[in-house]
Symmetry: C2
Subunit: 459 residues, 2 copies
Amino acid sequence: MAERFEIVEKALLAMLEEKKYSTLRDILVTMNPSDVAGLFDGLEEKQIPLLFRLLPKELAAETFVEMDSAAQELLIRGFSDNELKEVLDELYVDDAADLVEEMPANVVKRILKHADPEMRSSINQILRYPDNSAGSIMTTEYVSLRPHMTVEEAILRIRRQGIDKETIYTCYVIEKDRTLTGLVTVKDLLLAEDDEAPIEDIMLRNLIYVTTQTDQEEVARMFSKYNFLALPVVDGENRMVGIVTFDDAMDVMEEEATEDIELMGGMMPSEKPYLKSTPIDLFKNRIPWLLMLMVSATFTGLIITSFEDALAAQVALTAFIPMLMDTGGNSGSQSSVTVIRALSLDELKFRDLGLVLWKELRTAVLCGGVLAAACFGKIWLVDKMLLGNASITLGVSAVVCLTLWITVIVAKSVGCMLPMAAKAVKLDPAVMASPFVTTIVDALSLLVYFMFAKILLHL
Amino acid sequence: MAERFEIVEKALLAMLEEKKYSTLRDILVTMNPSDVAGLFDGLEEKQIPLLFRLLPKELAAETFVEMDSAAQELLIRGFSDNELKEVLDELYVDDAADLVEEMPANVVKRILKHADPEMRSSINQILRYPDNSAGSIMTTEYVSLRPHMTVEEAILRIRRQGIDKETIYTCYVIEKDRTLTGLVTVKDLLLAEDDEAPIEDIMLRNLIYVTTQTDQEEVARMFSKYNFLALPVVDGENRMVGIVTFDDAMDVMEEEATEDIELMGGMMPSEKPYLKSTPIDLFKNRIPWLLMLMVSATFTGLIITSFEDALAAQVALTAFIPMLMDTGGNSGSQSSVTVIRALSLDELKFRDLGLVLWKELRTAVLCGGVLAAACFGKIWLVDKMLLGNASITLGVSAVVCLTLWITVIVAKSVGCMLPMAAKAVKLDPAVMASPFVTTIVDALSLLVYFMFAKILLHL
């Protein structure tokens, strides 16, 4: 499917080159706006307005929403006042607010000047809410009904108002003072047996809603839990101010997963897609963590320095340091990653800490035991017998394998507790993933290693 | 919101204890099925059927779908034939197919025996499709229209058929031989100006669809790209066989992100939520990777062993091994995690390899340079002047800092190339994340370290 699509894209771009505009336009109108927007990625700057002007009004606006912000800015700068107004009139309010957020100040000024007054005030309202809140991702356009309307009147109202609402399928029933009291779906209305029944008789009263301040991550989780098409957003006085639709929730889910993954990989989260990020962008997101982790890794160095004599006496011990560090790091990151994801999906709460620790401890005893046994076998079979390493003694292998076992247990305990602790102090648990855990576990495992070496090898 | 909800849960469970069944029932009917299902998590086994039997028929079925499979199995085993039939009759086909997939054989037999013949054949059809294909997550219940119907007839048909369809908002237009030719939304129908217009005049003809064999990850990506409520699924002959709805796509998105994260953390993906996994489950998912990585980490040990003499001559070198390994590992995992996520979101393709490598190289030169400079400063200020470590020489610090720089460059190149290579050979790129990259980078960084030590320190 994807490859077939690339062939179509190439053919369309060729038509643009060859100025076959009317054929091109005939094909464009049959395409999905997302796909049309994709075409613009392959264009040179001066071709962008050319292709855009081929699109009929409605498709143009829908395509505009799906384009990346660089192309949007380029287009707006080239638009006549009239063209700008035409595109703005077709936008949904939440898309317009997104646009305003991403454009530089002088472009924003032009946009607000040409938006109609109602949209301008809605944009301003949405932009006042904190980033990542329900208020900032909602749209103020929805179908509202009144409790005393009949089913027939409600359907008539939807027919009259629906044309420029993002969804008509869930309608909200509000009182005169805009208090939210119920909802009906178009399915309820269409399947209602009595056209004359008042809405208040068929509406769902026990509503699930969010407030303008609810975190967008929480909003996305409610969508995936309840499978709603839209979720109403109310203010502090339970007055309806907007709705969040499922497609925005999907975007949030994707964004939040990406953010978690970036944090887990030891980077500052970025909203730019990879191919649009410059090396400087990437550098800025990555260097703070690398520096911090490098500095903390020097503690491990200090531990080694303070045991230099022990290492000099038993050179074989040095060779096992990387294996112990890596296995500890991997064991710890397994636990931290699992716990972070479970916290993100709301499967875990801080009060489960005891349960989690107990589960991880038992898992660690199992994993550590098997690893230690495998390691013991490997040391004797490979290092001793196959490679004939004379410095391997029973004592050395016992120190290595015992350390391995204890390291895995320590690593998994640290790995599961750090994200839970982060959650408790309202930090993002994803920060406590492999890079961070590895650094701590490295130091701990070396301490255990040298402790065992001192005791068992009398160094 | 979440905490308030826990208080409600406790109050409801107390009512159950105190046998206030009719009050309890009155409250339950106002609740969302997902929340009712959540109540069952807090119950003892013998209370589960008790609470379930309080629910009215439709809510019972909706709640049943949201419960975890252990509770479902318990209920089915306790159901009379009649109760089982009642629940099954209310289920959507895709939920019934999910149920059948998760139950043990004898329960499945009972389910299939009591499902009506039409549902039985639909379940069997869905179960025939490969795991993770569009066919396996679709439902066969959707509203189908014919091209010659009028808008009015179409609305009538929806009113007649809609009651047990998962979505009525997107209707599919099919020919006599079930070939898919178009779609209309309820919005189109409600906003149509002429009730007598034939469907073929208002339907969208250029459809985006998937086949029964399309991978579910691809399906989820199409939802997040196009913002559809539902996506039609056709067979090899373009005959309509079912639809995938947005809520299933959301579940897939969440599942796939979890799977990626688990793989990145060096674990086999698991479908069980964390709190339901036993330590044995966790052990089984984690030990293969740990063993494999432990064994490959021994190569690093071999490298150290073969440079034992160099280390004995310059003991200060050993202390920097953990820092070099960790920084290399972190740099590499930053790149691999970024590339893996971009591949998952379809932002990158294999043909972008050159571009990615060039971007990562420049980023690595920047990151490595800053790290090396910081490291040089730290060695002289802290190790030499503050701690008075006499074994630090200009030569040693030059070896460490040069190695650091090269390691970061090597780590980022390896980190970005491995996932791309995995993609090219149709492996899951997420396998090539931190644990794997770290192991490779460790070995490479030690080789670089000892090479510089040999050259610059003449060891």
